[in-house]
């Protein structure tokens, strides 16, 4: 699942750091401080919701970094819980084409840069 999305993003010129489970993801994210984090809800070792909370605990970078959640189910409970952590983007994977996900990520990043520059 991670391979096609990573390659697509790399082909578009993004620098992408991969992790194969939630724990590794949080560890790498806290070390590298990327401009945006994409999290799957179901992951080995640590699920996406927990990973999101861990990232938000980081006062310097994590509390504001844009987070996009990937999911297979639109679960209202998880969506409302994530909203408390300022995460509003849930993409149901079966509804999204890869190119559209890449466009969405681009848009989020551009919005972030606009916010920073303004």
């Amino acid at each position: 699942m991670i391979v096609p999305l990573t390659d697509k993003l790399k082909n578009q010129g993004f620098k992408v750091i991969n992790a194969s489970d939630g724990e590794e993801g949080v560890e790498k994210a806290l070390a590298v401080h990327p401009d945006l984090v994409v999290l799957d809800i179901i992951m080995p070792k640590m699920d996406g919701m927990t990973a999101m909370k861990k990232i938000r605990e980081d006062e310097d970078w994590g509390k504001d970094v844009p987070i996009v959640m990937l999911t297979n189910l639109s679960d209202p409970e998880k969506i409302s819980e994530a909203a408390k952590y300022n995460v509003f983007d849930f993409l149901v994977k079966t509804d999204w084409k890869l190119d559209d996900v890449v466009d969405f990520i681009k848009q989020k990043l551009e919005m972030g840069f606009i916010n920073l520059s303004s």
Binding site: M1, V3, D7, K8, N72, L73, K93, T94, L98
Partner: protein, 397 residues
């Protein structure tokens, strides 16, 4: 089982013992009759030699005494019966938790005790049934959640990998390979649509889907639904004729309204032959907004019209014309309308015109809208009825 038998034995024993010490109702009546008789006999003996007037007086007194006694007994009897009937009626209406008062140890008292025992058994049985039903319902919901997740995970993996291959990002593919990959991608999309549709159906059947109305411009939702099929409309050279009346904002769940419009518009597009016309009109009367979607399509065979809103049903001519289709769309639309206070119906006056492929009988004018199918959706201007639920419907095209 043995415990029940033992209980029954104990109860039987108690009843017998109680009988020894209690004076039953029939005993009371017997006592009354016998005491009256003995009074009469004693009276007759006692009054022997008295004149007729005195005999009549004594007889009258005895009669009055008997009448008062009988009246008293029957009155208390009928009062108890009336109050019991009232209490039993309450129980029959569903209040199985209440019990009758056992105020005596006569036959009525025993009857009351028996009714109480019966109610207790009924109550236990009903609560068992209810908890069993709840259990089944919960199991169904869990199954739907697990199944949908388990089904969607591999489907999304297939989707993204095929997408990745088709786009050539993983290395170039020749035209023939690409053609096959696209077919596989389309097949997977159909499967996703079916899983989404089945999920919606289970949410409808379990009653777990929510309706969240908000003020919405209905024409925008219709436009958005039409836009989604832009490519197909162009490909099939269809004309979309719109007649949209200005409308105030209505409290609608935009998602559910869009799902409903999409399903009906998608059907019109799928079953209208090349070069046909689809008319979409939005009007309002005093109470409702009326959305009409008519086409110059194949019509629905008369004998199959009653089944058109049932789950997984597809009309025979539709199946021949278009192999793709889940047979869930109209069921979902009907359920949305039923639960939100709207209505959906259709007219398809002509017998099925198209037999195979997208070819229409040349004698019939393909521009004649009255020969095709018209679907109508009516939504109250005061809005959809809201409804709390744990899930949202998902079956977007």
């Amino acid at each position: 089982m043995n415990k029940e038998k033992q209980d029954f034995k104990n109860k039987d024993q108690k009843t017998k013992e109680r009988k020894k010490f209690t004076v039953s109702l029939s005993d009371k009546i017997l006592i009354i009759i016998s005491s009256s008789l003995s009074l009469v006999v004693v009276g007759v003996v006692f009054i022997a030699g008295f004149n007729v007037e005195q005999i009549l007086m004594v007889g009258g007194s005895i009669y009055t005494l008997g009448f008062i006694l009988t009246f008293g007994v029957s009155r208390s009897f009928s009062q108890r019966m009336a109050s019991l009937t009232k209490q039993i009626e309450l129980m029959a209406a569903g209040d199985l938790s209440s019990r009758l008062n056992v105020d005596s140890h006569d036959e009525i008292g025993e009857l009351v005790q028996a009714v109480n025992d019966l109610t207790k058994k009924l109550e236990t049985g009903v609560s068992l049934e209810v908890s069993k039903h709840r259990g089944i319902s919960r199991a169904k919901t869990d199954f739907v959640n697990i199944a949908s997740h388990q089904l969607r995970t591999p489907l999304s993996i297939i989707k993204w990998y095929l997408d990745y291959l088709i786009s050539g990002d993983a290395g170039s593919v020749n035209e023939e390979q690409k053609k096959y990959l696209i077919e596989a991608y389309k097949g997977n999309e159909r499967l996703i649509e079916l899983v989404n549709g089945l999920l919606d159906v289970s949410r409808i059947d379990l009653g777990t889907f929510s309706i969240e109305p908000e003020p919405v411009d209905i024409s925008l939702i219709v436009e958005r639904a039409i836009e989604k099929f832009g490519n197909l409309i162009n490909k099939n050279n269809l004309t979309i004729r719109k007649e949209i009346e200005k409308m105030p904002k209505i409290n609608l769940d935009p998602r559910l309204a869009e799902i409903s419009f999409e399903h009906i518009i998608s059907n019109s597009i799928k079953y209208t032959p090349l070069g046909g016309v689809i008319k979409i009109s939005i009007k309002k009367d005093k109470k409702n907004a009326l959305i009409e979607i008519s086409d110059t399509g194949c019509g629905i065979p008369l004998e199959q019209q009653p089944k058109i809103f049932t789950k997984l049903f597809r009309a025979e001519n539709a199946r021949k014309m278009e192999s793709v289709g889940t047979g869930l769309g109209l069921y979902v639309v009907k359920a949305i309308m039923d639960k939100s206070g709207g209505k959906v119906w259709f007219k398809s006056p002509s017998p099925a015109l198209c037999v195979e492929e997208k070819i229409i009988d040349p004698k019939k004018s393909k521009k004649d809208i009255s020969l095709g199918t018209s679907f109508y959706l009516s939504i109250p201007l005061q809005g959809m009825k809201g409804r709390a639920g744990t899930k949202k419907l998902t079956s977007f095209k």
